[in-house]
């Protein structure tokens, strides 16, 4: 007898996990929006715009961290170029946001300001569908996935692994950054896109829109978590972990690792793209620095700090590192990178399983 899909999904997570998810949903979908929108600013319970924006940013980073963990923690492939997929998703949505500015830009032209500045007379062909919201959403999914698929196909087919793979992913994101820096590429050069005005005709800076984007990010994070949980507890996930531990053995059992790696690699890139598309309207800017190699390395650090090979770990890691980043870069701006480096070295030396591993150790000790 076939087990219904919904039962499989429910059994993929223990009861405590579902309860934690419900609490998280209540806070991010109900409590925080209500406290931001309907509690007056004078009240100590008011959630400020700063908190909503920072929270939304961190939720997007958490989605990226989860996507990274699927490929690194469960398939053993360390990508140091995941920033490129995040940025691609962001750029695709940014194109839509640029078109939504309409004639409200500095030059009162239908073309985005940077094109007027370059003396371009019409939109390049690849801006063709950027005024359509549904097609933009489709491209947010398709562009990062397609780039990842093509890149991954050649890399995995040539059996490039380990540190060699990590290095070429760094090269990928660096090359993409250089490409996007050029004005002629048609994505605003080093300034990228900014000064967004509206989404679907609604003001992008209104409290209501901020709350919608924040809650949408939370919802996507929860769905990503459920999807990941399903994947890693399915047979697909067990094959992936087996490929991570001994790829040749998996081949002699009759599995083709190429297809397994490609599926998880393209899916991971797609999730990064969604996160990027949610991120850009919340921070109001996208430029090629999102593709800098250091950004991609930082993603790996979030996952390592939280605990790779667990799903909750990367979410915690992304939140912890980014909260301390927003504190440090204000309090001691010149020491942030030293702190980040020390954190990575420290975690690698003493916490190989990250914060989640530490928590497990404490629990095991108190139980003994």
């Amino acid at each position: 007898m076939r087990t219904p899909f919904i039962i499989r999904l429910l059994s993929a997570m223990p009861r405590s996990g579902w309860i934690a998810l419900a609490v998280f949903a209540a806070i991010t979908l109900v409590v925080m929006p209500a406290l931001h929108l309907w509690v007056p600013e004078s009240s100590p319970f008011h959630v400020s715009t700063y908190v909503i924006t920072l929270g939304g940013k961190i939720l997007c980073y958490a989605i990226v961290a989860l996507a990274m963990d699927l490929i690194w923690g469960y398939a053993g492939i360390l990508s140091l170029g995941h920033g490129v997929f995040f940025a691609l998703g962001g750029y695709v949505f940014g194109m839509y946001l640029m078109r939504q500015i309409g004639t409200d830009g500095s030059y009162q032209s239908l073309l985005p300001d940077f094109m007027v500045f370059l003396d371009w007379k019409e939109l390049p062909w690849y801006w063709g569908v950027s005024d359509s919201f549904p097609l933009t959403l489709l491209l947010v999914l398709a562009v990062p996935a397609l780039v990842a698929y093509v890149f991954g196909y050649f890399a995995f087919r040539s059996r490039i692994k380990g540190v060699y793979f990590s290095i070429i992913t760094q090269a990928l994101t660096f090359a993409a950054m250089l490409l996007f820096f050029r004005n002629e590429t048609g994505f605003g050069g080093n300034n990228g896109f900014t000064d967004f005005k509206r989404i679907l005709g609604h003001d992008i800076t209104s409290p209501g829109m901020r709350v919608i984007l924040f809650s949408l990010s939370a919802l996507v994070l929860m769905l990503t978590l459920l999807l990941s949980r399903y994947l890693v507890t399915s047979k697909f996930g067990r094959v992936l972990a087996a490929i991570r531990d001994s790829e040749s053995r998996v081949m002699f059992m009759g599995y083709n690792p190429l297809h397994y790696k490609l599926v998880i690699w393209a899916l991971s890139a797609m999730l990064c793209g969604i996160a990027g598309a949610l991120y850009v309207p919340q921070v109001g800017i996208i430029n090629p620095s999102e593709m800098s190699p250091a950004n991609s390395i930082e993603i790996a650090i979030w996952v390592a700090v939280g605990g790779r090979g667990t799903l909750i770990g990367p979410v915690i890691g992304a939140a912890l590192v980014n909260l301390s980043k927003s504190y440090f870069t204000v309090a001691f701006p010149e020491y942030w990178l030293f702190f980040l480096g020390a954190l990575f070295v420290g975690v690698t030396l003493w916490l190989p399983e990250g914060v989640v591993g530490l928590w497990k150790r404490i629990k095991a000790r108190s139980a003994a």
């Binding site: 047979k235 067990r238 001994s246 053995r249 059992m253 009759g254 599995y255 297809h259």
Partner: protein
């Protein structure tokens, strides 16, 4: 309706003659499961295999012996598609050219391999190890939605009993003893339902008792499956009692039953002369 029936009849009229080409499954009509002919492999000038000829019959239990560097592991690499031979032909049954197939394709066609060092998945449970090995559709999209049914569970529990690990199903495989790991790997091989089993030093590191039980298991498998066993343990080879092939410097030095081979002066020279 009638039109589609005539079409189907027409199709059936054609297909028998093409059946052989349309479904290139394993054809053992000449009672031979594996042919190696004039296989040569060299690594940087070193001839690992030198015009090797070997045929294995259906249901046979063959032992391969030879000093270190004789080419035993390279031969297995050629059969399983890991190494491409420089020259020579390698056929599985009458029709499947192994030199043109990838590792997963060869595994699907029905050749299972046990490595010298036990390579089980240490982070998976014993049960999961067997589940991964089980003969089934192994494409990525299928695995995404695969769910173990009761027949699958029964097959796994039968195999667990056969390899005497039925009490250890949920244990992490990395925690098993060395002998148990060897048995688990044999179990994984059986879950693949291969016609031909290649076993590289299957009893290395086993206790005498475990070795003897392994021998008994192999003898029950022979007949239904064909087995090629690479071993150094002469007592074990004697227990198996099959035909023995001696490899030396990449080609066959002698072939026959154990007593004949051991009496062969060339074999004695190779083993004792160095």
């Amino acid at each position: 309706m009638s039109e589609s029936q005539t079409l189907q009849e027409a199709w059936e009229d054609i297909t028998p003659s093409f059946g052989h080409m349309l479904q290139p499954g394993l054809d053992t009509s000449h009672n031979v499961i594996l042919y190696l002919e004039d296989i040569s492999v060299s690594f940087d000038g070193f001839k690992a295999l030198n015009k090797l000829n070997l045929t294995i019959d259906v249901g046979e239990l063959r032992c391969i012996i030879g000093p270190n560097g004789a080419g035993k592991t390279t031969m297995m690499d050629v059969i399983t598609g890991k190494t491409r031979p420089d020259t020579g032909t390698c056929f599985f049954g009458q029709t499947l050219d192994l030199t043109r197939m990838t590792e997963p394709q060869i595994a699907h066609a029905g050749i299972g391999r046990k490595f010298q060092k036990p390579t089980i998945f240490e982070n998976h449970s014993v049960f999961e190890n067997l589940e991964l090995a089980m003969k089934t559709d192994k494409r990525a999209w299928v695995s995404l939605f695969a769910w173990l049914n009761s027949e699958g569970r029964d097959r796994i529990s039968d195999t667990l009993k056969l390899i005497r690990l039925d009490g250890e199903a949920d244990r992490q495989a990395g925690l098993l003893s060395h002998g148990q790991k060897q048995w688990l790997e044999i179990g994984m091989l059986l879950m693949q339902e291969p016609q031909l089993l290649l076993l590289d030093e299957p009893v290395a590191g086993m206790t005498d008792d475990e070795t003897e039980r392994t021998g008994e298991l192999f003898k029950t498998l022979a007949g239904k499956h064909s087995l090629v066993v690479v071993e150094h343990d002469m007592a074990f080879i004697e227990q198996l009692g099959g035909k023995v092939t001696v490899l030396h410097e990449g080609s066959v030095l002698a072939e026959g039953n154990l007593a004949t081979v051991q009496a062969d002066p060339r074999v004695i020279e190779v083993y004792l002369g160095r």
